[in-house]
Symmetry: C2
Amino acid sequence: MSVQSGPPAADQATPELEAYTLLRQVNSMMDTYNRFDLRSEDLTVPQFMILNYATADGVPLSEISARMLCDNSNLTGIVDRLISKGYVQRRPDPQDRRVSLICLTAAGAEKLRRIKPRHHARVSRRMRSLSEAQVHELRNLLQQLFAGLQEPVGEDDSPSA
Amino acid sequence: MSVQSGPPAADQATPELEAYTLLRQVNSMMDTYNRFDLRSEDLTVPQFMILNYATADGVPLSEISARMLCDNSNLTGIVDRLISKGYVQRRPDPQDRRVSLICLTAAGAEKLRRIKPRHHARVSRRMRSLSEAQVHELRNLLQQLFAGLQEPVGEDDSPSA
DNA sequence: GTAATTCCTTTCCAGATCGAACTATATCAC
DNA sequence: GTGATATAGTTCGATCTGGAAAGGAATTAC
């Protein structure tokens, strides 16, 4: 605003920044809705996610954290809470004693069976403002963006900074 | 992949769910990158966001929380930390004594001036995997989705649940 | 004016998150 | 085997987050 001469100040305005800002906002709103939905089930969003990744046979904690793109240390506490609610349990892996398998209990499976379809339906319903073709388009763009983000990112612009 | 006979289990598979899952993942990765970028500047992501919304003249805390789509109560602590770092300060609003204005200090403005352009450049660079047209397309889709999310959401599907 | 209501902010608590340090186990090098 | 390295999970401290409750202040109803 106070820069004279060239108009480089227009704060953000690049389509990339706008897209990213919107992505954050959409994510935030979806999260708020999900939190609200799951509240009546006495589950938090991360608790529900872990429940979705756990199986009766057991899944290593680090496999879950990898899929959730978070650190192992996050899950310790969340799993503790799920255990206290009776939805999962920890079992040592006989093959690798470092591993603790997260096992869905019968109660957990039942809970999941009851609320997962409804939750998915709600998520889909909230995207009704997009046509079927637009949903596909969005998914493809995000897929491409996600793939691009996995690469090490060759620094090139502003090499001096 | 391993599903035999009837595919009733296909777990998610709807384009909506896939799109939403990708949106979460992209957001998560972008956030990780941002956190890493700002770390060398001794700033967290939310601290940086507040810095971006604050002005020298002062902005009501609730205006910032509205823009950040978060609760007022979140910002109290973050602002406290920014104050202890000397980047903002609180000033009472003479017009409305309930309001506390968040004011960018000279040090805060200087910090922002130094890191904001670089940060924006990095965000843009991370979206290089999309063409210019695709970025526009993504922005438009997210804009439409965001607008749709603001509406009260007329419950229609699964009305009995 | 007073009372009721609404609004702005802070405080408190539970939960989640990251990052670093630590323990235990596994694997590799030799 | 021993030692170095890597991996799995936990613990801890700092930060962020939402939600509820409380305080002070503005606004409205009367």
